[in-house]
């Protein structure tokens, strides 16, 4: 089983090597010429030299918080799904309770105005 992951690692290295060889091939046609104004980010005809690495005001942080909760839940659901049929109805009820509690959390958040563009 470990050799499978070894193969995947080899694939990553191979893909990187392929990309680098493409870069090398493109390099044989010449270097990029440095000219004034060329490397300023393109903004439709005006030179905008101001840096943009600022604190971006993401308006979806309400959704992001709920997403964390649901993501943790999904991590638990994968193994549960595999043994579900074996265990039977009990599994459905167990997970049903878990999902219902989470769903109530979702409804609560919705009612409190979390699920909107802040």
């Amino acid at each position: 089983m470990l050799e499978q992951y070894g193969l995947l690692l080899g694939l990553i290295v191979g893909a990187t090597g392929f990309v680098l060889s493409l870069y090398a091939l493109a390099r044989t046609t010449g270097k990029t010429r440095q000219e004034p104004g060329k490397d300023v980010p393109a903004t439709g005809g005006q030179l905008s030299r101001d840096p943009v690495w600022v604190r971006y005001h993401a308006r979806y942080y309400g959704y992001a918080l709920l997403f964390l909760a649901f993501d943790m839940e999904m991590a638990f659901m994968y193994p549960w799904a595999v043994v579900y049929k074996q265990v039977g109805l009990v599994a459905l009820l167990d997970m049903g309770v878990f999902l219902a509690i989470l769903f109530l959390g979702l409804l609560y958040g919705w009612s409190q105005g979390v699920l909107r563009r802040q």
Partner: protein
């Protein structure tokens, strides 16, 4: 042979690549797709794929003559293209900051096709050349100013020390736009905020003093220092940009105070967003050649995340000079007015004609009047279809963009029979638009306007103001014209008004029965004053002129887009970026007719 070739010998791989480039041409269109369609050009049919970013383009296609400010912007676009790059100019001569055109052709579809064919040959043979020179132009250079951190009013062009305190002056890049912008409210404000920036920069000395020393004289080699420098720069610069704060609060005791400052202290004077968080704002130009905005319009948005916190809009097109106590031949006056606006040339031609006829006291025949009505309504249809194409592009609705553009090209020179034959196409377009899912929800509530008597055209009619120059025109009322209006005043209402006007124009052309561009009546050596109102596709335009012995001596023009431009600020406030652009687009501004 192209000027923007890459350096190298054309052999081997380079030859293969040059041939590939000749076959797959990607183009950046200047001024824009709306102008190209209005001139009758179908670029995709000519075999060039249009792209949104200059870096993906290999050809810069200039359609028609453009004003000096737009030429500068085009030169910037050209400089940002990746080599090998070519310049195709249709219907214009030398465009000064840009290099000389690689291929010139006439401004028509056959001219475009011919030009593209020549371009392909030029690429295949000239994409690589042994000797190339850099493209240089004045507006591409960084103008570095030196300023004192403690005294921001001290600005010099050479390095040195501050005369007031003796500190070494720090280099600062000047905003590129400052050189060619004419005095404008926001730009002065911008300069003020630069001062604020430096005061807060000092304000931050307290908490980050050791970093300040480190980045003071660095030449941007150290990556992390550069980060912090940029970070400070950006944070302060943008945070201070929209000073609702007063100068007074900035001066108090932090000069030289290096005590610890908590985050609350540091951010206490920053402007807050609508949810109460103080975040950093950036100024982004949505420049003259932005796909999805009318070309020629420079919309500078202050973005707080992807919400618009402030905006300023101006046009970079040329302000056409109208005679003011000088004499101008009537025919050249008509030509000047009609060439001013490539998106609605006929409307302005008729405006000039009617004003002159009014001033000279000439009556025109009913046949002429009906012919003019037919031509004006045809132009209204093409203009609305052009707007629909731009609207489709803004919404990311590919089908609408292509269909509306195709119909616009067909309607441009169609006679009455062809127009009646195209009527079912318009009907099916409208029907399909009404059936598109998500269109209504996307547009409802965007760009809501309030009642304002200075509004014109479909924008006014969508708010419920019955402002239509055609309602008082006897020729129109004889043809059974009634103004359309809606209530809600948002982007959806404006869309619906324009769709209804499409149908109405078709009915009017049918009733008028003839489309003719009659020559203006001979005004001889008349003298007098006159005025005229014409309902251009964007609203009523008003022209007042005085004739003296058959020459136009003074003229004053009011156009709808001039007032509508001032609405952009209120329309875009606190909207998300996509909604803001859609709201501005729904106004159907034509930067070419904006009078400054």
């Amino acid at each position: 042979m192209i000027v923007g070739a890459r350096q190298g010998k054309l052999s081997g791989l380079r030859q293969l690549v040059a041939k590939a480039m000749a076959r797959e041409l990607t183009g950046f269109l200047v001024p824009g797709l709306d102008i190209a369609h209005a001139q009758g050009l179908d670029v995709e049919a000519a075999g060039v794929r249009l792209v949104a970013s200059p870096r993906h383009a290999s050809v810069l296609m200039v359609a028609g003559d453009i004003s000096p400010a737009l030429r500068n912007a085009a030169a910037i676009i050209y400089a940002q293209m990746a080599r090998p790059r070519a310049l195709l100019v249709l219907g214009a001569g030398g465009l000064s900051p840009l290099p000389s055109a690689d291929v010139t052709s006439e401004l028509s579809q056959p001219g475009l096709i011919d030009g593209i064919a020549q371009l392909r040959i030029a690429f295949a043979e000239g994409a690589f050349r042994p000797e190339v020179t850099d493209f240089d132009a004045p507006m591409l250079h960084v103008r570095v100013e030196y300023t004192c951190p403690m005294h921001p009013e001290v600005v010099q062009d050479e390095p040195g020390s501050c005369p007031k305190c003796g500190m070494t002056l720090e280099p600062r890049e000047a905003s590129a736009n400052d050189v060619d912008s004419h005095p404008h409210e926001t730009h002065d404000h911008h300069h003020e905020s630069h001062d604020h920036q430096h005061e807060v920069h000092n304000h931050d000395h307290g908490s980050h003093s050791h970093h300040h020393e480190a980045h003071d004289h660095d030449d941007h080699e150290s990556h992390s220092h550069q980060h912090e420098a940029e970070d400070h720069q950006a944070m302060d610069h943008s945070g201070m940009n929209h000073g609702d704060m007063d100068h007074g609060s900035m001066d108090h005791g932090d000069h030289g105070d290096h005590a610890f400052m908590s985050m609350i202290d540091v951010t206490k004077d920053l402007p807050r967003s609508s949810d109460g968080l103080p975040m950093d704002w950036i100024d982004v130009p949505f420049g003259p050649f932005f796909p999805g905005l009318p070309s020629g319009l420079l919309l500078t948005l202050t973005l707080d995340g992807d919400t618009v916190a402030g905006s300023s809009a101006r046009t970079l097109t040329e302000n056409v000079a109208l005679p003011h106590h000088s004499a101008l031949e009537p025919l050249s006056f008509v030509a000047r007015l009609s060439n001013m606006e490539p998106l609605a040339p006929l409307a302005y031609r008729f405006l000039a004609n009617q004003a002159m006829e009014n001033a000279a006291g000439i009556e025109i025949t009913t046949v002429t009047a009906r012919g003019r009505v037919g031509a004006l309504e045809r132009e209204r249809i093409t203009s609305h279809l052009g707007w629909l194409a731009l609207f489709g592009q803004q919404m990311g609705f590919g089908w609408l963009l292509r269909r509306a553009a195709a119909l616009q090209l067909k309607f441009r020179h169609a006679n009455e029979q062809a127009i009646m034959a195209l009527k079912p196409d318009i009907e099916s377009l409208i029907k399909r638009l009404r059936r598109t899912p998500l269109l209504k929800s996307r547009n409802a509530g965007i760009g809501r306007l309030v009642q304002d008597n200075a509004l014109r055209g479909p924008v006014a009619r969508a708010v419920g103001i019955d402002n239509d120059a055609r309602s008082t025109d006897p020729v129109y009322t004889a043809l059974g014209f009634k103004a359309i209006s809606r209530d809600s005043g948002d982007s959806l209402a404006r869309l619906q008004v324009r769709l209804d006007e499409l149908r109405q124009s078709l009915a009017l052309i049918d009733a008028a029965g003839t489309i003719e561009l009659f020559e203006p009546a001979n005004i001889g050596l008349a003298t007098g004053a006159g005025e005229a109102f014409v309902e251009t596709p964007r609203g009523a335009a008003h022209l007042r002129l005085t004739l003296e012995k058959g020459l136009v001596v003074t003229a004053q023009l009011e156009t709808p887009s001039t007032h509508h431009l001032t609405l952009t600020d209120s329309l875009t406030k606190q909207q998300s970026l996509g909604d803001a652009l859609l709201a501005v687009g729904s106004l159907d501004l034509s930067p070419w007719e904006i009078r400054q």
